[in-house]
């Protein structure tokens, strides 16, 4: 049986809950580029050193939901709307 691949149409953000730990950025870049690299993450957290928390996504984000799984603070929520076919 192949593993079901789920894509999320939308990721809801709750910036006030973001801790700035950047785990989402690290997990995103590791998943998509095989290395930990904030510059190549498709989710971007602008929080280092500042009070205001900003969360944004680059155009090539495919809403795979990795960032959501690595958020320990409830700042990201996946809204499941599209399920693609089973893949190996």
């Amino acid at each position: 049986m192949g593993k079901e691949k789920v894509r999320f149409k939308k990721i809801k953000i709750y910036p006030e809950k973001c801790s700035g730990c950047l785990s989402c950025q690290l997990a995103c870049s590791f998943t998509h580029t095989k290395s930990f690299n904030l510059a190549r993450s498709r989710i971007i957290i602008n929080f280092i050193g500042d009070i205001e928390r900003k969360i944004s996504f680059t155009e090539d984000c495919i809403r795979c939901g990795t960032c959501v799984r690595y958020c320990n603070y409830g700042a990201l929520e996946a809204v499941k709307e599209v399920t693609e076919g089973a893949v190996q």
Partner: protein
């Protein structure tokens, strides 16, 4: 060589000649000293000549980030700096979790070594392979936040490690502050940067860090993230200062955290003055976290109401640091928070500043200094006096110029018996008193190479523990079975009568290794790890084979080379003794009175610690046999046979 976990290069920058070179990170250096603090220690030992004036161009600044930093391993984002400390004249080492370490690694460097002195104020910009030395004249004199912002305005989204006005004026306890609120604190490394006319290092890296076994690595990370997140301590540390009463309050009641320059206890501290209720309602706003940390125990403070209404900023220890200012006589959140805000903006160590103000107040009250010495400023333990002294220390104005020298030099300069009120070990003030009780962390302050700080002694014993706790904890950090039977024999399983000083040796070795990987010692993080877990992570991350015993031995080597650095500067057993006050004055904590420490008791603890460490009991120096076993015979020859 293909590196995983490591970036693979050391960047050398000489400010005098404006020369820049890069060298590959040597595999033997990794195997012997791990990375981060460990490799920094070796670099400092090799590059800083004995007797160097810490504020001269000959001193060397070593930045370093360990192999786990910048990855997803929870709680491993700490990286730091080593130089010769202008406060202690010994090894100056400090780390922060809000560091620029991850970005340094993404840019391609595990370490940055800075030598010389620029002719005029400069900052270093590292943009992947491009390293440039830039003019900093226009930001010289500016506070931390403003300096960081101006550098970012010029360069873009860089991470910044910089000094404030205190570092520029060579205050011997000036901090280097990373990303506006990560404190490279305690040992005055901000003054070393100031002495080099170096305002900041700014870095942006886009190269990334790979790991050796991706699947195994992620499996371990997921398990560890789950363990950290499941700890009930996470919520207590993260939200609304829920930890204040069980932690700070307990220490105050026991007399471990004291007040007014260590003159007495403050058992009522969190019940009357620094209450959790007021903190949650008026002071705390939100949490934030270090890179890759699921604990998120740092805080955004934002005062509601009162004279500082709206004052908002980030603090690494959001409740502990304001409370520290009770050492300066401050007994309310608002003024404590205001003091922290000032020290953070000016780039000066909050803890040491609180003690210096407490010291100044006490010697004023005792008549050792007078209004003439303070330029008319009345030192009556008030917040107004504290604010004024923070400004004067930062600007080296008036009495502040003497206090800026740090507790040891300032007390000697003042004389007239002021030394008796100077509470320090090796020139650094302790965070914890030892008179009410001994445990690993507070005893560890005596033998820590950087002076009296508790962090390298972090283990299980902050509260009194029975022998069985030590027996179950010791294997997790690699203490051999035969040593466990000596440290905490089975017969003492149900008593507190076991050797904290002997266990400390193993704690120091384990911590030296794990901190060199980047570990945070906070209680939500460190207990989730063990020597075996770190061994598995180390291989999955780096692909370099090191078994548990190799890793622990590397930790021992790191601790010993730090000790050797100090021995080379003249330090010996006498420098491991507690402060005069703790040996001579009793400590009153509410209705309890603890007698001064007995020298004989401390000597017994030190004897045991040296014996366990393979150090000479008379001198406190590592023996040649110990150094031979650690492959430090060349370093030993250089120091012991001088």
């Amino acid at each position: 060589m293909k590196y995983h976990g490591y970036a693979g290069q050391i960047l050398y920058i000489d400010l005098t000649g404006e020369s820049i070179r890069k060298e590959p990170l040597d595999l033997d250096l990794i195997k012997n000293f791990i990375g981060g603090m460990g490799i920094n220690s070796k670099l400092a030992f090799d590059l800083i000549k004995p007797g160097t004036d810490p504020l001269s161009p000959e001193n060397v600044i070593c930045y370093g980030a360990g192999p786990f930093v910048g990855t997803l391993i929870p709680g491993f984002s700490r990286s730091g700096i080593i130089s010769k400390s202008p406060l202690t004249g010994l090894l100056g080492e400090s780390q922060t979790g809000v560091s620029i370490g991850p970005m340094l690694k993404y840019a391609g460097y595990d370490h940055v070594v800075i030598t010389g002195r620029a002719e005029k104020p400069v900052y270093i910009a590292i943009d992947d392979d491009n390293v440039t030395i830039k003019d900093a004249t226009r930001i010289w004199g500016k506070e931390i936040g403003e300096s960081t912002n101006e550098i970012r305005d010029e360069l873009g989204d860089f991470w910044v490690s910089c000094i404030g006005p205190a570092g520029e004026r060579l205050v011997r306890f000036a901090n280097i502050i990373e990303n506006k609120n990560g404190m490279i604190g305690r040992v005055g490394l901000g003054a070393v940067m100031g002495s080099k006319n170096l305002k900041a290092i700014a870095v942006r890296g886009t190269k990334g860090i790979t790991v050796f076994q991706r699947g195994k690595f992620l499996k371990l990370v997921k398990e560890l993230r789950g363990k950290v997140a499941a700890s009930p301590l996470v919520d207590m540390w993260r939200n609304e200062g829920k930890i204040i009463e069980p932690y700070e309050g307990a220490y105050m009641k026991r007399g471990v955290y004291v007040t007014k320059n260590f003159s007495k206890g403050i058992p009522e501290g969190v019940d009357e003055y620094f209450t959790q209720k007021e903190y949650a309602e008026r002071i705390w706003k939100n949490y934030y976290a270090c890179v890759s940390c699921p604990a998120g125990d740092k805080g955004v403070l934002s005062i509601k109401g009162g004279k500082y209404d709206g004052l908002t900023f980030k603090v690494s220890n959001p409740w502990g640091t304001p409370i520290t200012f009770n050492q300066a006589g401050i007994r309310n959140w608002d003024d404590g928070v205001k003091c922290v805000n000032m020290t953070n903006r000016f780039g000066i160590d909050a803890f040491t500043t609180a003690i210096m103000i407490g010291f100044a107040n006490e010697i004023y009250q005792k008549g050792i200094i007078s209004k003439e010495d303070t330029g008319g400023l009345k030192l009556n333990w008030s917040a107004e006096a504290a604010f004024k002294l923070i400004e004067q220390i930062t600007r080296r104005e008036g009495i502040g110029d003497i206090l800026a020298e740090g507790i040891k030099i300032a007390s000697q300069k003042i004389g007239k018996g002021a030394e008796k009120y100077a509470v320090h070990v090796k020139g650094l003030e302790p965070t914890m008193d030892l008179r009410p009780e001994h445990f690993i962390e507070n005893f560890g302050q005596l033998v820590d190479p950087r002076g009296a700080h508790h962090a390298r002694g972090y283990s299980i014993t902050y509260i009194p523990r029975k022998g069985k706790s030590a027996r179950s904890y010791a294997p997790s950090i690699g203490v051999p079975e035969d040593r466990i039977d000596v440290i905490a024999p089975e017969s003492e399983a149900d008593t507190n009568n076991w050797s904290k000083s002997r266990l400390l040796k193993w704690v120091n070795d384990y911590n030296s290794m794990s901190f060199s990987c980047g570990m945070c010692m906070r209680i939500q993080i460190a207990p989730q790890y063990s020597l075996d877990i770190i061994k598995d992570l180390f291989y999955a991350t780096t692909g370099i084979e090191m078994n548990s015993s190799d890793l622990l031995r590397a930790g021992e080597r790191i601790w010993n080379i730090q000790r050797l650095f100090n021995v080379r500067e003249g330090a010996s057993r006498k420098d491991d003794m507690p402060p005069y006050r703790m040996l001579n004055d009793p400590l009153v904590v509410g209705d309890k009175k603890f007698p001064p420490l007995k020298e004989a008791d401390i000597n017994e603890l030190l004897d045991e610690y040296y014996d366990e460490s393979g150090w000479d009991k008379d001198t406190g120096k590592p023996t040649m046999k110990t150094l031979d076993n650690l492959n430090l015979e060349n370093e030993g020859e250089l120091v012991l046979n001088r």
